[in-house]
């Protein structure tokens, strides 16, 4: 099976236990709500190719266990992530209060340049809301995060969250703010096509050999 894509981004899904991280990932990949599985232990892994501003991007997504003590284990996976979904549950202030810690971890362990989108999940449970949209959007602004309220149940804004995060990374690559070739950028080229755009001579030589992987 051949897969072609222009870029590969490493993504993380982080946030407290029970905020719906795995459900967001499942909704994104399978387009369906899944609430009948065991909770995540350690790390799970998923991938999907999406199309963003005429580029196809393969997202390699690491879904982590949320319980505090698992951080000593899951932190090892942060290294070299290009993007992250930082998830809290709009019906639980506690999960919102924990955001600062998650953020510090992500920026310290993944990369200073990691692009993070804050996701207020369980948007469908508006009646039980404990965190207002306004409050969270202020937090996002202060911490230079993108922000969306999502629902893994209905699918609202789920795809958008991943796409927006990927789009921002692409923009940063194009503006030169992010260098995919830097070690630990969390970004890889999918094939030679893009390099060709950026440095025609070098890539032409490479594109002769077709990559079979």
């Amino acid at each position: 099976m051949s897969e072609t894509y222009d870029f590969l981004f490493k993504f993380l899904v982080i946030g407290n236990a029970g905020t719906g991280k795995s459900c967001l990932l499942h909704q994104f990949i399978e387009k369906r709500f899944k609430d009948d599985s065991n909770h995540t232990i350690g790390v799970e892994f998923g991938s999907k190719i999406i199309s963003v501003v005429n580029k196809s991007v393969k997202l390699q997504i690491w879904d982590t266990a949320g319980q505090e003590r698992f951080r000593s284990v899951t932190r090892s996976y942060y290294r070299g992530a290009a993007g992250a979904l930082l998830v809290y549950d709009i019906t639980s202030r506690e999960t919102y209060n924990a955001l600062t810690n998650w953020l510090t971890d992500a920026r310290m362990l993944a990369s200073q340049n990691i692009v993070i989108i804050l996701c207020g999940n369980k948007k469908d449970l508006d009646a039980d809301r404990e965190v207002t949209f306004l409050e969270a959007s202020r937090f996002a602004q202060e911490n230079e995060l993108m922000f969306l309220e999502t629902s893994a149940l209905t699918g609202e804004n789920v795809e958008e969250a991943f796409v927006q995060c990927a789009r921002k990374i692409l923009n940063k690559i194009e503006s030169g703010e992010l260098d995919p070739e830097r070690m630990g950028s969390g970004i890889q080229y999918g094939d030679a096509a893009l390099r060709q755009l950026r440095s025609p001579r070098r890539a032409q030589a490479e594109s002769v050999q077709e990559c079979g992987c």
Partner: protein, 353 residues
């Protein structure tokens, strides 16, 4: 509070509805969609013969003894599998849980009566609907619903062992204990045997025991399956990525139920070394497959592949292999590596980043 379950009604889940019976295994787990009936029928027939033979032997063994002793004969018997009907009793006896239960009569109940830490309660409750949703005994609609018993055990344990409190993964372990013992108090003491004696520091907040053992496995793989070790190194894959779940869940939800129970037979009798034997066998047997991986995701994928299929479904052969395939595995070696890695990790934690 319903604590002890009617033994007969749940002895070995039988269901008069033949359709439902086919969907669900004897422990209440729904069979996955890709369940291969033919292979299992064949396997079951062979295994039933084994079980019948073992059952007779065990019955004879237990007839002559007041209490199971830990000797070579029993060890050999345990490695060949404890029949379902004796499992609870043998686990209790050889893990020391029975002694604990007897010398602490009423203690479990008293833990349930004390004022509960509401935070602990909340964290445990959040995992109840996420523990074996594929098992009919854990459905809210079932009678009795094991969710309540599971909740009690975890809550009591959190108060009993404050260093551990509640760590995700304990729910799966306690869940299996309940399925086998059908008794809250016994499950509680078995959980205690595992967490405070057999797997020290696995579930404490820094999870040091677990982190050490993951690296110890790495050392053992380096010694015994160098090709895989090279592959892991080449792609810069940390052991925690592929095996943390194996160790935290003691293979629950990783390997087939019957295989897990056979592993636990040895875990209670012989201790944590068995976890390495299982991991090493899986890795060694599939070393070519793993070594051919071209990328980190591919390695992850293959580590998922090797825990499925006939090799692990055939629990009786698999259990024979774990004592053959990895070769000798001395306690001294494991102790040495554990000490080394405990020092490494502790030193690393102290160093400011």
């Amino acid at each position: 509070m319903e604590k002890r379950f009617d033994k007969q009604s749940t002895e070995c889940l039988t269901n008069s509805d033949s359709k439902a019976y086919q969907r669900v295994d004897r422990y209440g787990f729904e069979k996955s969609e890709d369940f291969k009936h033919e292979f299992h029928e064949e396997l079951k027939a062979d295994y039933v013969a084994v079980l019948t033979r073992r059952s007779k032997k065990w019955s004879k063994l237990l007839q002559d003894t007041e209490r199971v002793e830990k000797n070579m004969k029993v060890k050999r018997y345990v490695r060949k599998g404890i029949p379902c009907e004796y499992r609870s009793e043998i686990w209790m006896a050889c893990s020391g849980a029975q002694d604990q239960l007897e010398s602490n009569a009423g203690y479990y109940d008293s833990l349930l009566k004390i004022e509960h830490d509401s935070k602990l309660e909340e964290v445990i409750r959040a995992d109840m609907h996420r523990t074996f949703p594929d098992n009919i005994q854990f459905r809210v609609s079932s009678q009795p619903c094991l969710q309540n018993a599971l909740f009690n055990i975890l809550l009591a344990y959190g108060h009993h062992n404050k260093d551990v409190g509640y760590c995700q993964g304990m729910n799966f372990i306690a869940g299996y204990l309940l399925i086998i013992t059908k008794d809250e108090e016994k499950s509680f003491w078995l959980l205690d045997a595992l967490l405070s004696r057999i797997l020290t520091d696995y579930y404490t907040p820094n999870m040091l025991g677990l982190r050490v053992d993951q690296e110890v496995l790495g050392e053992l793989v380096k010694m015994k399956v160098p090709a895989v070790w090279e592959t892991m190194k080449r792609h810069d894959v940390m052991w925690t990525l592929v095996v943390s779940r194996w160790f935290i869940c003691l293979y629950v939800d990783i390997l087939p139920v019957e295989t897990v129970l056979r592993i636990w037979d040895c875990l209670f009798f012989e201790g944590s070394k068995i976890l390495f034997r299982v991991a090493l066998t899986l890795i060694r047997h599939h070393q070519t497959l793993i070594s051919q991986s071209q990328s980190l995701p591919e390695i992850c994928e293959r580590f998922k592949q090797i825990i499925r299929g006939e090799y692990v479904e055939d629990c009786h052969s698999f259990m024979q292999k774990i004592f053959m395939e990895p070769g000798g595995l001395s306690s001294a070696t494991i102790t040495k590596f554990r000490k080394m890695w405990r020092n490494n990790i502790t030193a690393d934690t102290k160093t400011p980043h």
